[in-house]
Structure formats: C-alpha cells, structure tokens
C-alpha cells in the first residue's frame, strides 16, 4: 500500500509542472500554493524526462529517457524509451503498464483513498494547510524553490523532493526510499495546454485493454 502511495504522490506532483505564478514567500505552504495555482490553469501538458534510478536490486543506476503527458480530468501517461521501454497509463486509480519489448501488460487497481480524483480535488482549493500525514519543508535559493515532503508515519518512502523556479515550473523530482533506493527525474521542454487528446495518452493496445 505504501508503495502505491509513493507512486501516486509522485505522479500527482508531476502535475504541478506549469505554474507560471509568483512565489509569495519562502515557507512550505507558499511553495505548495504556488504549484497549486499554476496547475489550476492548465488542461493538459507534456514534457520530456530523464530518469535515473538507483535501486538496491541493481548495481548501477538505470538511466531512462522519455516523456510524460497529462490531460484533465484524470488521465496520466509516462513513456520510457529503450533500453527499459515501458508505457504507463493512469486513469483515475487504475494503472496499466505495457512493456512493448516483452509484450507484457500489468494492471493494478490503486486504493480508492489514493485515487487521482482525491489529489486533483485537493489541488482545486487554495492551500491553507499541509496535506495530512506529511511534513513539508521548503527553502528558496537562487530563485529556485526546493520543497521536501516526508511522511510522518514510518513508510518505505523517506522523502520526496521537488525543485521548481520562481514561476513554479518544476525542474526536478527526487524520491528517496528508506532502503536506499532513489529515483531522480529531471524535466525539460515543458508545453502546457497543447490540446492533447485521450489517444495521445493511451496507446492503442493499452487503450484496448484498459478497463
């Protein structure tokens, strides 16, 4: 369950991408509100990513390039290219992973309490308090915000770190886990409200099998 929470938290925070707003101060709530307001103005976005994963199971970092896409109300897509190609679609709380090289499909239903709807609803309202169950810390250096999110309860995830500029545009997300695993994603070439269609986020074969 905790692992899925982490996945969700990550995916939802990816949605803060294009926040062209001014930071109001240097505390965590201000930082979070900056992201929220930015997100409120977008219908869809697309961005290129470079992901580095350091896992306890692997000797070396796994480096992947790819792209993320989002379309309101609840469709998220992330594609990683070879050598570890995968396409992940998240619709509401059903996650489908397609491995094109292997021709394998995995499908997981995430707990409803962690559904995308709930997070999107949270982002709809002005941030007046931190989300339940997490500790937030933010600092601003050289016009870059760094927001650190740590679960209050002991979970697999140690910390989620987001870096974004004064316009609220995220440049990096780092997920650190208690077992030493670490995922570092850098974003570039962000484009907002480009008029994405559902089919741009759901590959044909995935779409066919998505419940």
């Amino acid at each position: 369950m905790q692992k899925y929470r982490r996945i969700f938290l990550f995916l939802c925070l990816c949605l803060f991408f294009s926040a062209p707003v001014q930071a109001a101060g240097n505390n965590a709530l201000e930082a979070l509100e900056t992201l929220r307001r930015g997100f409120a103005g977008i219908n869809d976005f697309t961005a290129d990513v470079v992901q580095e994963k350091q896992l306890a199971l692997m000797k070396k970092k796994m480096v992947s390039k790819g792209q993320v896409r989002f379309k309101k109300p609840d469709l998220f897509f992330m594609e990683l290219l070879a050598p570890h190609a995968s396409r992940l679609t998240l619709r509401a709380n059903v996650m489908t992973l397609w491995l094109p090289e292997q021709g394998e499909i995995q499908r997981v239903v995430l707990p409803p309490e962690n559904g995308l709807d709930k997070w999107l609803a949270y982002l709809d309202k002005p941030v007046s308090e931190a989300p339940e169950g997490v500790d937030l810390k933010a600092e601003q250096k050289n016009n870059i915000w760094t927001l650190r999110v740590s679960p209050l309860k002991k979970t697999g995830m140690k910390e989620l770190q987001l870096s974004f500029d004064m316009k609220g545009q995220i440049s990096r997300i780092v997920i650190a886990e208690n077992n030493g695993d670490r995922t570092d994603i850098k974003f570039s070439n962000l484009r907002r409200n480009v008029g994405l269609k559902d089919k741009d986020l759901v590959q044909d074969s995935v779409n066919r099998l998505t419940p």
Partner: protein, 842 residues
C-alpha cells in the same frame, strides 16, 4: 358396524355438543356483559403473548434443516461466511460501472450502524494492493516448491524458464518493470521470482480462487460480458439480529442512491429483510382485499349493517387469539405465516354466514327471535360445530409435519378456525338480540336464493342424468389429474418481484460458472485422513469431468498436488534440469544484466536446491496457503468447524447430463460419510419431507374428519354426502391444475389435506338440513345451499387474494384451494340433491 360400535359414543358426542351449544347460547344471550369481559381478558392475554413472540423473517427457517442436503447447505453458508454476506450487483455499461464502483464502495465502507462500521470487509477487486508484501512472500514460497503447485503438464515450461537464454529474457523484463513507475511496487516480487515462474503457477491458483465467472482482464469483480459488477460485503454483526439488519438495510438503501448505475442487493439472510417491506405489503394487501370482498358479499346478501360489522370483530378475535395461543407453543412465528389471516377471513366468516342465514330465514318464515336464534344456534350450530372441527383438525394435523412452513400454518389456521367459531357463537346472539330490541320493526324480506331452487328441481327431477353428467365430468378431470407432476424447483416458489430473487437471477445469468452446482463434503477429525479420502473423491469427480458430465469443478486438490503428483513433477523436473545448476546460472545471469546478487540470494538458493527437493507435507502447504493473500482458496475448500475438518468440492454442471444418482451412489461407495448438497438435492429432500408430511397429514386429518362425520351423521350415507363432493373436488382440483399448467409443489400439496376438512363442510351442511326431511326439503336446501355458496365465495375471496400474491408458494396454495373449493361447492350443490333423492328413495 358403524351403528353397532360407535353408536353410543356417537350419541354421547352429539349430546355433549348439543349441551355445549346450549350452554354457549344461554351464556351469550343471557350474560352478554360477562361474555364481553371474558373476551377482553382473553384478548389481553393473547396480546401479552404476542408481545413476547419473536417474529422471524429468515426464509431458511421455514424448512427442516437438521439433516440432509439442507443442513450441509446451511452449514456451508455459515462456514464460508456467506450467511453474513451482502451482495451488491451494479448494472450498467462497462465504463459507468468502473466509474461508479469506487465511490459506492467508499460509501459502503463509511456506512455505520449504531456508531459502528456496518461492514467488516468489502471485496470488490480481485487483488488487494495492501497485501503486496505477503503476496510476494507467498510467491517466493510457491516458486521454490513447483512440486506442490505446478501441473505436471507445465513442467516443460518451468524447466524452459530455467534455461540461460530464457533467464536473460526474464531479467530484461524485470529491468523494464523496475525502471517504470510501477517498479517500486514490483521490487519485492521480482526479488523472490526474477524468472517469472509465477506465471505458470498463478493462473491455476487464481482459477481455483474464483467462485464467479469473471472478466480476468479486469481488476474488478466484473462479469465477462461487462454488464454487471459485483461487490461482496461482510456485515460486522450477524444479520439474523433483525434490529441490526433493518438499520443496515436502511443504510444500504441510502448508500445506493444517486448513482448512474442500477444497484441491487441480495444475501442469504439479508434478502429477507430487504424484502420484508414488500412481503408485509403483499400480505396486508391480501388481507385487506379479501376482507373487503367478504364483507361486501355478506352485506349484499343480507343487507344488514350490524351483523356485517360484527364479522371483522369475530375475525379479529379469531386471529388475535390464535396468534396469542400459538405464541405459547412456538418460540417464534415466521412472518410469511401471517398469510394465514387471509385464510381465516375466508374460513372464519363461514360460521357467521350459516348461523345468520338460518336466523334470517327462520325470522323471515315468521319464527320469533328466540325461536329463530335457538334453531340457528343449536340446530345449525351443530352443523357449524362439526364443520369447523372438520376444517380445523386437518389443519392442526399439519403440526406433525417436519416442514415448519406447513406446521406453523396448520397450527395458526386450525386455532384461527376454532376461535372464529367460538367468537361467532358468543358474539352473534347478543348482537342479534340487541339488534331486534333496537330495531323492533325490522322486516325480514325473503333472501335471494341465487337460483338454487331451480338447481334443486333440475337435480331432483333428473337424478340419473345429473349423476351421470357429474360422473363423466369428474372422470374427464380424473384423466387430466393423472398427468399432474411435481414442481421441484424451489426458485419457482420465490417471490417473482423480490429484489433478492431478481438479483440472484442476474448473478446466475452473468456471473455463474455453470447453471447448477453441487457441493460435496469429505469430513473428519484427522486432517491427513480427510485429505487422503479427499484424493479418492477428487479422482471420482475428475472422472465425471472427463466424461463431460461436469462442466468444471473446484477443489483443493486442483491447486495443491498430492504426494504422487509431487513425485511425478519432481521426477520430470529433475530429469529435465539434469546436471545443470539453475541457481548458479541465475546468479551468472544476474551479473550479466547488472543486478546485485544479494537480494536474489534466496531465489538463487531455492533453484539450486531444486534437484534435492522432496514432496511437501499437505498440512504445511495448507497452512501456508491460509496465511497468504490467497487464503480464500483454503477457506473455500477446507473448513475447520465443530472440531472437524470439512474438505469441500464444488461441482459445476449444466443439467441432465450429470447423472446425479449414479454419482451419489459411487460417492457413498467410496466414502460412506461424505455428504452432498445442491439446489436439486435440497429440493429432493424437501419433496421427501412434504411427501411424508402429506401422508401423515392425510392419515391423521382423514381419520379425524371421518370420526367427526360419523359421530355427526351416525350413518354411512351422511358420511358419503360429506365426502363425495370433496373427493370429486380434489380430483377436479388436480385436473384443473393440469389444464391450467400448474404443478404440485411443497406447499400446495398440503391443500389436498386441508381441502378434506374445508370441502367436507359443504356436503355436511346440505346433508344436515335435507337428508332426513321429506317436507320442506327444497326450502332447507335453498337456505343451506345459499350459506354454502356464500361460504365458498368467501373462502375463495380469502384464498383468492393469496392466488394474486407475488410469492409463488402462496399463490400456488391460493389457486389450488380455489379450484378445489369451487369444484367441491359446485359438486355439492348440483349433485347432492340427486344423490340424496336417490338414496332416500331407496
């Protein structure tokens, strides 16, 4: 012989009955205040008893469940927790179902009764992500023991995955999954099984876990056609706790409002509560409609307000006292038994009709109030007394039956008839006296004779023709009656519009693995012994599957290999892997693909140990399965209850192709203590119970009626006059049922017993008034015939309301009785004058 032996006894009984009626008449006419006071005391006592009576809504409590298939059926409901489960069926298009299920489940989870969560568990997905770690642990255990979980046919595939080239392919897949955002969730399972050996084991386990035919590509419990989605919720408290169940149903009804998909609910016991309101409405509608018809008939015939208004009071007293008295005998009364009130309305009015009709006729003929009252209360009263007892006793005889539905109905109707009769005897005289005093100038105009005078004339003048015509008609109906068959399908007796019934039908249509199911239980105290016997039963079941008599089956033996199969798997596997060392090869492949070796060491060790593997003890395997997220598989097939182990086999079949008697015979030969249950077996058990009940009810009721008739008439002719119409009526009833496409069933079979008591009244009343008198026979016939006709109509009104009931069981009783009563009354009215004329002349 009839005259010789019981003559004295008969005379004594007649004398006692007359004396008793004299006493009742004296008391009721001279001391009405005391009668009313006594009635109020009895009513108060009945009310006290009623307040302490528990009313049951559980449909299963209506049938004998202490042995046989029904016992096992109810036990499995209890063991599996199904008795506590509520099933929610969402209907709509696929996308709508998927969109609505989560919000609905959230509502169910947050539903509270008395401040506590209403459900302890809500299942709506095939897999719970919260158990990912436990699932990974179990997979690690399972792939390390292929001898236990792998089908012999899959050994080649398993061995193939241990080849270095295939290891490379699997590890590439693992890398891709780990690199994806889903990788965090897959890390543990990849560590215990980097070669995806689980792909060969999980389908077998999943298949056996499923009791429903689901779309395997959906994570939800979605039907293959995508039309329905099921949510299974386990109630926090027993639903037999009616207060809890009622509040729960209120909460459920609220929780399912406002969705774009239709949500219906069913459940073994919860259904009764869900349908409770409908059931009550149904029964109330029966009671009110029959009351209106009965009162309408009475008023239209006699045009007197006070006696018409007295009838509801008589019926109320009859019903209240019978319920109160039954409360002393029964620990609880089933709500469906309230249908008896409709019967009391039909039967209890008969006595008022006979007595009042006689009183009215005598007054109309110029007799004084006292004289008319005496004749009606003592002379007609004697006929009424015998008629009431011949009606009540066959109903009371049903108490000996093992089917609660019938014994309870028998007791309530039997008591209701007796109390209604006494209420008539005690309340009618004072009311008539009061009425005469209050309205001294009342004119008693001649009553309508409904053409009965003509009937008498035709029947008497054409005796032979009348007898011949009625005999031919009865013979034709007898031929039709020979084609009567028995309805064994319990579902056809259920309420057709009941939500639970309709939901159950939809579940069967969209989610059932096969249309029919049989469950076999192998039981014992020692688990090893049970499993050993289970293997033999498993082989028998498999044999029937191979013969295509079974569509499928599910058992523990299907997912856990027994010792011989384990040896076979190991032998083949070890032969295929030969001198290779798959553990070492995995370690090398991991290095090649950049994996750390440490986290995979258990998997490496397990593969390395494969060549030394030995069969696993079944007890250990079951314990491990029960502790895993796939525990449902163990819980469904192996139950520990009542200090015994119960190994269950679920057999799915379509219908006639499964030779059940042969299977059960072979099962008994293989394991004499093995038990089996299923809808057909339960139906067969109930049919057996009903047959026994019918036999005893018929013997007891028949003997009682015969004795009462003999003591009443003191002649065989009198007995014939009473029984001929009812025998002809029974034949006509069965014949008409065949012609109407009806069948005998568990409930309406008992009408054959009760019609004996009810139907014999018609001949009795007619014979009582006409068989001995030569003068004034026609007038007596017209008077008694009118009362018989009205009695039959009021009985039909009472039972007729049941015929319109939504409950197949009640409706079948209603139709059968109406056919029987109508035919008996017609035979009595048309044929008896001819028979009486013929016999008296001789």
């Amino acid at each position: 012989m009839v005259k010789a032996l019981p003559a004295k006894l008969s005379a004594a009984v007649q004398s006692a009955v007359t004396a008793h009626l004299e006493w009742v008449f004296r008391l009721s006419s001279a001391k009405p205040g005391q009668v009313i006071a006594a009635a109020l005391v009895f009513l108060a006592l009945a009310l006290t008893s009623l307040l302490n009576t528990r009313f049951e809504a559980d449909i299963f409590k209506l049938f004998p469940s202490k042995q046989g298939a029904l016992k096992l059926f109810l036990q499995t409901l209890q063991w599996s927790g199904s008795a506590q489960e509520a099933y929610f069926l969402l209907e709509g298009d696929r996308q709508a179902l998927l969109a609505e299920v989560e919000p609905f489940v959230l509502r169910l989870k947050s539903l509270k009764v008395d401040g506590q969560s209403a459900f302890s568990k809500v299942i709506y997905r095939t897999y719970d992500p919260g158990e990912a770690k436990a699932f990974a642990d179990f997979i690690g255990y399972a792939v390390a023991r292929p001898q236990l979980f792998l089908k012999v046919e899959q050994v080649d595939n398993f061995a193939g995955r241990l080849l270095p080239a295939n290891m490379d392919r699997s590890l590439k897949r693992a890398q891709a999954e780990l690199a994806s955002q889903a990788g965090m969730a897959m890390r543990d399972i990849i560590a215990v099984d980097p070669l995806y050996l689980r792909d060969l084991i999980l389908p077998r386990l999943n298949k056996a876990t499923q009791a429903l035919d689901l779309d395997t590509s959906s994570p939800y419990l979605l039907s293959r056609d995508g039309r329905v989605l099921i949510v299974i919720a386990e109630t926090a408290r027993p639903v037999q706790d009616m207060q809890f169940a009622r509040k729960l149903v209120t909460g459920i009804n609220k929780a399912r409002q406002g969705f774009s998909v239709h949500i219906s609910c069913a459940g073994a016991h919860l259904s009764a509560v869900i349908d409770e309101a409908t059931m009550k409405r149904n029964i109330l509608a029966c009671i009110i409609s029959s009351l209106f018809v009965v009162l309408g008939l009475f008023y239209l015939t006699y045009r007197r307000v006070l006696p018409t208004l007295l009838i509801p009071l008589i019926l109320l007293v009859g019903v209240a006292l019978s319920l109160g008295t039954a409360g002393f005998f029964l620990s609880s009364i089933h709500i469906i038994s309230f249908a008896f009130m409709a019967l009391i309305i039909g039967l209890g009015t008969d006595y008022s009709i006979h007595i009042y009709d006689r009183f009215y006729s005598e007054r109309s003929a110029g007799k004084s109030t006292d004289e008319a009252l005496r004749l009606s209360m003592i002379d007609s009263g004697r006929g009424v007394f015998t008629a009431a007892t011949t009606t009540a006793f066959p109903f009371l005889a049903l108490m000996v039956t093992e089917v609660r539905a019938l014994s309870e109905l028998g007791l309530l109707v039997g008591l209701g008839v007796i109390f209604s009769m006494y209420a008539t005897f005690f309340f009618l005289p004072p009311l008539l006296i009061f009425s005469e005093q209050r309205f001294p100038n009342s004119v008693y105009k001649p009553l309508p004779n409904f053409g009965l005078g003509r009937v008498w004339n035709i029947s008497r003048k054409n005796r032979f023709a009348t007898i011949a015509v009625s005999t031919v008609l009865i013979a034709i109906l007898l031929i039709a009656a020979l084609f009567i068959s028995f309805e064994g399908e319990l579902r056809n007796l259920q309420p057709k519009q009941s939500e639970a019934f309709l939901t159950q039908q939809k579940i069967e249509k969209h989610l059932s693995l096969a249309s029919r199911q049989m469950l076999v239980a192998v039981e014992g105290i020692d688990l090893d012994d049970v499993l050993a016997r289970g293997r033999k039963v498993g082989a028998l079941v498999e044999n029937y599957r191979l013969k295509k008599q079974l569509a499928a089956y599910s058992s523990l033996g299907q997912v856990l290999n027994d010792q011989p199969s384990q040896n076979e798997v190991l032998e083949k596997l070890q032969a295929q892997t030969g001198l290779r060392r798959p553990g070492t090869e995995l370690a090398q492949a991991l290095v090649r693909h950049g994996f750390e070796q440490g986290p995979f060491q258990p998997a490496i060790n397990n593969l390395e140990q494969l060549k030394y593997a030995r069969p696993v003890a079944m007890v250990e395997a079951i314990q491990r399965l029960a502790a895993s997220p796939l525990r449902g598989l163990a819980e469904r097939h192996l139950i520990r209850a009542e200090n015994s182990y119960h190994l269950l086999f679920y057999l799915y079949y379509q219908g006639e192709e499964f030779n059940q008697p042969q299977f059960l015979k072979e099962l008994a030969g293989l394991d004499p203590s093995a038990r089996a249950t299923g809808e057909e077996l339960v139906s067969r058990q109930l049919a057996g119970s009903v047959k026994r009940s019918f036999l005893w009810g018929f013997i007891l009721g028949g003997v009682m009626v015969l004795l009462l008739l003999i003591t009443h008439f003191e002649s065989l002719e009198g007995v014939f006059y009473s029984l001929y119409p009812v025998m002809a009526g029974v034949i006509a009833m069965l014949g008409l049922m065949v012609l109407a496409g009806m069948k005998l069933n568990f409930m309406n079979a008992m009408v054959l017993v009760t019609i004996l008591g009810m139907g014999s009244d018609y001949g009795l009343h007619l014979a009582h008034r006409t068989s001995t008198l030569e003068e004034g026979q026609q007038a007596s016939y017209t008077q008694a015939g009118r009362a018989v006709l009205l009695s039959a109509l009021t009985t039909i009104a009472g039972f007729g309301s049941l015929a319109l009931s939504d409950y197949g069981a009640l409706a079948s009783i209603g139709w059968a009785t109406n056919f029987g009563v109508a035919a008996t009354a017609l035979v009595a009215l048309f044929s008896l004058p001819a028979f009486i004329g013929l016999i008296v002349k001789k």
